[in-house]
Structure formats: C-alpha cells, structure tokens
Symmetry: C2
Amino acid sequence: MKTRQVDIAIIGAGTAGLNASREAHRAGKSWVIIDPGPYGTTCARVGCMPSKLLIAAAERAHTIAGAAEFGIQVNDWKVDGPAVLKRVRSERDRFAGFVKETVESFDPENLIRARARFSGPNTLIVDAKDDTIEVKAKAIVIATGSSPWTPPQLEGVADDVLTSDEIFEMEDLPASMAVFGTGIIGVEIGQAFAQLGVAIEFFNPFEDIGRFSDPKVVAETHRSFDEQLTMHLKSDVSAVEKVDGGFRIEWTDRDGEAHTRTFEAILNATGRRANVSDLDLEKTGIPLNEHGLPISSPRTLQCGDAPIFIAGDVSGHRPLLHEASDEGRIAGANALRFPDVQAYIRKTTLEIAFTSPQMAIVGNRWADLDHDEVVSGEVSFANQGRSRVMGVNEGLVRLYATKQDCRLVGAEMFGPRMEHMAHLLAWAIQQNTTVPELIAMPVYHPVFEEGLRTGLRDLAKSLRIAGHCQPQDRGEGPGV
Amino acid sequence: MKTRQVDIAIIGAGTAGLNASREAHRAGKSWVIIDPGPYGTTCARVGCMPSKLLIAAAERAHTIAGAAEFGIQVNDWKVDGPAVLKRVRSERDRFAGFVKETVESFDPENLIRARARFSGPNTLIVDAKDDTIEVKAKAIVIATGSSPWTPPQLEGVADDVLTSDEIFEMEDLPASMAVFGTGIIGVEIGQAFAQLGVAIEFFNPFEDIGRFSDPKVVAETHRSFDEQLTMHLKSDVSAVEKVDGGFRIEWTDRDGEAHTRTFEAILNATGRRANVSDLDLEKTGIPLNEHGLPISSPRTLQCGDAPIFIAGDVSGHRPLLHEASDEGRIAGANALRFPDVQAYIRKTTLEIAFTSPQMAIVGNRWADLDHDEVVSGEVSFANQGRSRVMGVNEGLVRLYATKQDCRLVGAEMFGPRMEHMAHLLAWAIQQNTTVPELIAMPVYHPVFEEGLRTGLRDLAKSLRIAGHCQPQDRGEGPGV
C-alpha cells in the first residue's frame, strides 16, 4: 500500500469538489480529487442541463400546439422523438464535456480514478486500479453528491425503471410513462414529456407538487397542473409489475377506488439520497444524524470539529448547482483554514423549477416564517397584461415582508417568467431592500415585472395596515 | 363664451394627463381634462400594446420556423394574416377599453371633449361642441402627446402611407412592405412582419438601429439584423410614387448604386413629434426651443417660471409609457404646489425594445459617459449556456462602472431576455449597488442571468486594473 500526503483531499469531482479544489489550487496547496467517474457533474450529465434541453423542445411543441390562438395555422406537425432526444444528448455532451475535459486534463497527481473510504479523520483508503493508496490529508472534503432513491414499490422493477440517470439515454420517446414523484425533477421532466405528446400520469402518496408551502400558491399550483396533467395525488400504489409492453401498475386513488393501467415506461423521480454508504464514515468520529448522514453547519460546512468538510448535494443543505459551487468554495476555504474555520454568509435562497408555469421560491418560504412578524401581499397573473399578450397568463405570486422594518423577506412564485423575477427579488432581499424602495424602482411597460409591482403594492398596503413603515418610506409620492 | 375656474386644467387624456388628474383628485382640488379624443392612450391604442401583441404572434411564427432544430417537424403551417391582426385588435381594444372607460366615466365637469389653446399663462380657450369656454386655472398641465412625423420623401404619398396609427387596422398582412426608419418602432414592427412572412425592406439615410451608442454593441446589432433583415442603411430615397399594387421606391444605396422596387405597403416609422402646434404657446410667454417646443426641467417639469407644466411624450424628456406616468404625477403634483415647485428624483433610465434579440439600455448610455471616469466590461451571448439551450444564443452586453466607487452606472444590452435583465440592472443602479456586491448576488443555473454575471466579472476585472475598489469588495471570497 502506497501512502500519499496532501494538504487537502477531496472525495468527488463534481461541482462542489471541483470548486473546493480551485480554492486549494489558488492557495498553492497540495490537493487531490478522488473519484471513479463518470466525470461531468450531476447537473451537466443528468440534471439541470439535459432537463432544460428537453424542456426547450417541449416548449417549442407547446408553442406550436397553442399557435392557432395567435393566428398561426399549423396543419401538420409531429414530435420526432429520436431527434428531440438526440439534440438533448448532443448539447448535453457538449456542456458535460467541458467539465470532463477539465478533470481529465488534471495533473495525474491531482486525480485518483477510484473510490475512497475513510480509515480515520485524516486518512482515506483508495482502492486504485493497480494499488491501494492511503491518502493522508490535513483536511478532507466530502463532495460525493447524491443518487436517485428507489421507493419500496419500485424495488422489484428497479433495474427496468428509468431515473434521471437513464431517461435522456432513451432512443425514442415512449407512448406512455408513469412518473413516480411530483417534486421538481418529476414535474419538470414529466410535464415536458407530456407536452411532447407522451401520455404521462403522475403518482404520489402525498399531495405536494414542487416545494411550495403557501396554501394559496399550493392551491393555484394544483389548479393549474390538474388542468394540464394527470396527477394521482394521495394515491397508494400497491403493485408494479413488468409485463409485455411495459409495466402494469395497480393503485388505489384518493377516494379509495382501485385502478390498473399499463405504461410503457416508468420514471422514478421520488427523490435523491446522499452518497455516503461507501465512505465508512463511522471511522471518522464525526456526528451523524439518524440517517447516517454527517451533521454540518451550512455556514462553515465543517462536520463536528473534525478536519472534515462536506459540500454539494451530499451535505443536504441546498441541493442546487449554484449552491454546490458556493459550498465547494466554502468547504475548500475552510479546509485550508482548519482549525480556524470561518462562518460564511450564504446567499439568499433561490429555487427555480422550469415548469410551465414556472415555480420559484426566494428567501423564506411561507412555512418558514413567523407569521406574527410578517405580512403578505399577492398578485394573480391570470390577467396580467404582458402575460396575457403572450398567452401565458396564469399563476399567483405571494410576497412576505417584516412588519418591523418593511423589508421583503421571501416569496413563493408561480407564473410565467418567474425565473427572471425570482432573481429580481432574491437580489433585493440580499440587499435588504424595503418594500417602499422596491415600489419606487423603474418598471417598463408592458412587462411581466408590472405584475410583480402590483404584488409589491399589495404588500405595501398590508404594511400600511400592520407595519411600522414611515409615511415617507411608502413610495407613494409623485414620480415613484 | 362661458368661463370656468379650476385649480388645474390638463390638456390631454393620455397616460401623463390621467396621472396628473389623479394627483389633483387625491388632493381634493378642482380639475378638468380637455381632450377631443379618441381616448385610450397612445401606448394602448397604437403603441406598446398592439406592437407587443403583433410581436407575440411573430414570435410564435419564428418558433415554428425554427422548430426542426429541436426535433419538432412542422410540415404544413401558415400565417393567417387576418386572424393575426384580429387578435391584435381584439386584445388591444380590451386594454385600451379600460382607459377609455375610465375617461368616459369621469364626472362631466372633469372632462371637456374638445381641443384647447392658450390665451395666456393661466387661461385656455376651448372650442367645445356647443360653446366656446374660457378655462381659467391656477396651473395648467400640457400632456398632449406626440404624433408620427412625415419625412419629405413621403409627403407626396402621406395619405396612403401607414404609420403606427393605421398599421394595426389592416385587414390582412401585405405581401411586401417598405419600412422607413430603423428606430425602435420601425424595427419592432418591421421585424415582426418579416417573421410573419412579409417581405420587409428597411430604409434609413443614417446607420442607427435603435438607440445603442456603444460601438461594440452597435456592431453586434448590425451583424445580427443584417443576417435577419434587409436593411438599406445610409440609403438615399429619391422618389416614392403610388403605382398599381403599391408604391414604387427609387433609392441609391450606400455604394451609390441606384435601385427601384415596388412594395405593397409603406410603414412610416421615422419618428414622432410633440403635439404643440394647436396650442398657441406664444400666448403663454414660456421659453420655447428652436423647434417651438417648451423648455422644461425633467425634475420639475415646469416651463420657465410659469404656472405651466409639461408631461409625457410632449415634454421630450423620455417618451416611454412608464416615464409618462411618472411625469404626469410630477407635473400634477407641482401644478398643485405652484409656485413652490419641487424637484423630484427621476428613476434610473430603462429602455427596452422587444426585438429579437431584444435591445435594452439601462442608466447611462456609452455615449453619455465620461470615459476618463468609467471602465467597461462585456459578455457575449453567442455561446451563453441557457441561451444556447433555448436556441437564442446571440448578442452582446456591455456594462459600465465608475472607477472611483466601483458602482454600476449603465449598460447597453443586446441579446435574449434582455427585458428581464435590464430590470435587474436598473434596480441595481437605482440602489447604487457596487459591482462586487452584484457579483455576490445569487444566480441560479442554468439561467440567462449567468451571462450577465460573466459580464459583471469582466467589469470587475477592469475595475481591479483601473479602479479603486477595496480588495474585500471584490467579491472573490468563498461562497460569493
């Protein structure tokens, strides 16, 4: 067994791990990334990029399907499934290729293509191709990512069921598909398939769609998706069986009625789990939660007081690409600073689902608020001017502000172009902008952002009734 | 001749005039709006709303034309011109109807359906249907808007040439159309018609497209529109003649070569002029510029020291709907305060053209900057990730910041979804946000805003070389 000594060892060559390595590189410290591959990051290979490519095609199809309203007659069109998926893969490979090239161009001493497991808080055992290596490090960053989880009902057919790992590899679109799960991934991919003409049905033992918590936004989400999609919420799937031509699913619906239907394919989108099972974490002495996952502070990413840091999807804090980048940098920086770790301020929360309409959460969710301290405002996009012009007028945005200092602190947003307005609000929250200040911001005409301003004015009205804003802060003067 | 005495008389029931009247109404003062009609605001009747409705249809057509790249086969489709224009008008009438209803529901004492002319700084003569009325007012707001201007070459055919006043009234799309002018209105409508299958050619004796001034952005704009559209820039139109089937146009191109071509229709989009000719402004004693237009401060909107205020397109400050609203409120408020007028802070400039790609200007244009005091940064959207996913990857954004305090002060933006990113930057400029602060803002993945961040990082690089930003302000730490 060879032994290597480095300043920082990083387990995982994904977004978080690569960002951690950059911190070490910039500081001129010795480092190694240990990862058996495939390289290319979850996001680029099987996550945000291919799903957005699929959605781009689905949006085109949806646009064509709705063109008559605008005076465009489309008499003969079809979705060429193999061509749709070919573009998804070819563009996906291009994006993932950049990351892959980065990793593969590493100096050999910075990359070990193998799995790592802990033998102590400062040591990893790596079963490399030709030898077992003991890596001793001053600090170690866990950045092993996450993997799709298989629910009990799908365990018997797990090898044949698709996850986001496999779905973009299909040669053609199936005629029908059952989607297990109505979280972000399930709804994004399932809705896109539906818009591309696949007969999609969703199954979820619970009622949640995406991550909204505000009862009014939840209700509007259900209204919209119920109209567009077949969702068996609060359904109880009792059997899933492989049969000729696909899978036979038996379920009981929310009213207790039993159903059986056969689908050509199944997408398992019931969630992802942190990749920790091969790490022998018990050898590290770091605190683990009831699921065996390391407990870490989101601001330091340190595990207990060990020289071990955790970043990206595996940390369980914010499983999003841009947060994985930040966590990689924070974990890398603190690994370098150990034991003098620093608590970094995290960015304002920003979550976006590229559904139609889009779903976004900014800052605090409704469920996370102290409702004695905040008031809310809202705006419906059902008749919002520009949205109506574009034929995408539906949705509801709910906004939250503190009574004490009239600052915007969160929003749950369902409607068109929310990906953009979510940035507008996230940047405002991060800057501690008050609602009166926001109302005084320039808004063009006719734009989607006018809808947002209507919501902010409604929020200001709530603040006038319940809040402590000064009259001069209310943004009601001429020219504002 | 009857005489009426009011606190405030407002000439014009458009966006500015209506907003001015709301100030008077809120203050409990007596007021009257004088306007012969038609009611409904320039924007809603013949401006931003119908053009955006047309563009919505054009975007659908453009999407269909480009669907094959995404794997969607469209074998048979056509633009149903009458249906396109019918939707434009029907939705337009709905939007304009709201304004019309507002005006027509006014108490009769608040509305005189006639033209007004000055007989002195505090008096207007109104030739109403059944009587001539002298309106005496403590202050008067001019909010008469603007009208399309006819260039000399089109004077002989002016009655048959279309302007934005008439183009949306067409029963069907023409087979071909010459567009005079490559400003915002010309390019928005002309490009939309082209995307809807009309053979469009643009004519402009100058080289400007839209309002960009940064040479690099101008160059990219020309590259893109040259590829998409037929633009005879620096052309000299020598004759326009009505002939069978349309108009015969003779012109000399930039290389001095002569051409003749016949177009079914002509759109005159060479600019708009303030509506002041019927006002007898010389009776007021207010200062006029060389074109006979009132000179006013953009922050008070007062004309000289007279009890006369000017707002909206006629003021010549910022001929945009959202600015007309602000100017109406400022003029109304100052008319009420006269002679104690107040200088209001205007919002950060925000201009958007809904072309493809979109054009936007935020804060200071390049041409308005002191180039000793600022540095620039830029980002191309030619390969920006999300833009590429959506098949809209082209454009260039240039950003400007002050060396002294590292604040963003302006941007010229050409690319996809710029209407949204322009708001992001306008709000940042209005809040005096520094470039390092902007780089630390949350940005999701994969989004168009990542392109903007790349540009901001490039700007930060320029600031590091030339600016005075503190190292800790550079936003380079972990987690930012």
